[in-house]
Symmetry: C2
Subunit: 187 residues, 2 copies
């Protein structure tokens, strides 16, 4: 397998665009070559088979979606951070739609599902730990509930963007944080 | 177009299974005929084209997912109702995975997206009105936030079922309702 990291990243970014535009059944090594504008056969020098490509796309989405370090400077405020998250989702629609395609593909491929569970599970635990270590308001369960509500909001924002027009997302994020992550546990 | 309602429903149920198992690109009128065990060409007597089939699948999913009237008898409790909802999701996985496929297909087909927005928007408004009319605790914004958190929970439960193993869903539903739909608005 070839190892040029920049070429690999460019092929994975092309794969993300194919996945978002055509769906998972449209994702072939040949389609990735065409999207990346490289000679047919290039992708097969980097990925042994489609299953390996899928797992590497998953890892690449995480690189693409890492928070901007500048957003984590200064006083931390969960409402502001979630606003940044939604802005990044909207700026990187293809990456998020590709992720939803990978989730659906995982319902049909146990090895991809195992990878996805490990990956998303580690990310959720890291988020919880980060939130608590930084002394932000709210408890472990509140962070999980905010994660779920934001996942629902992102799925709607990507797939039925007109749905929440009568429920402005800024107000939803504000109420979500105030109710799920109160200063003292809601017990 | 043929009008036998039972035959039509059986073809739509077959289409839901194809969509869940093969993804949206695997959904052809021919595949629906094969899944339903009817002669090739039968589906094209019921659906003028694939786009019409997609819209009718959407309507059929709603029939399949209507709450059990027995669940709405007796004293209403949002936690109990959400528990019933999750049980129905797990009993009808194909229908929900098909719905996620339709959501992704809608990102590529404006006419399907318009239909989906109208449909889901009406359902959300009906849920809010029902909740408030029945005098259940919580306000309009709380009902929207519970809808989003349950959507996130359902997406995870369908696609990465191992993810929430360390966060039992019963506890999440309980905390979600207590925090998002308090007895008096959280102002």
């Amino acid at each position: 397998m070839r190892q040029n990291p920049e070429r690999r990243a460019a092929l994975l970014d092309a794969a993300i665009e194919v996945l978002a535009r055509e769906g998972s059944r449209g994702l072939t090594l040949r389609a990735v070559d065409a999207e990346a504008g490289v000679p047919t056969g290039t992708s097969s020098n980097y990925f042994a088979h489609r299953a390996q490509l899928l797992v590497q796309i998953l890892h690449r989405t995480r690189e693409r979606l890492a928070p901007d370090p500048a957003d984590l400077q200064g006083p931390l405020d969960t409402k502001v951070l979630l606003g940044h998250l939604l802005r990044r989702v909207r700026a990187e629609r293809s990456v998020h739609i590709a992720m939803l395609e990978l989730r659906l593909e995982a319902t049909r491929r146990p090895e991809l599902q195992a990878e996805l569970v490990g990956f998303q599970g580690a990310e959720l635990e890291a988020n919880i730990a980060w939130h608590l270590e930084n002394g932000l308001p709210g408890d472990r369960q509140g962070v999980v509930l905010v994660y779920l509500a934001m996942l629902g909001l992102i799925v709607d924002d990507l797939t039925v963007p007109g749905l929440l027009e009568s429920h402005p997302v800024e107000g939803l994020i504000e109420a979500m944080v105030e109710r799920l992550l109160p200063e003292r546990p809601a017990d």
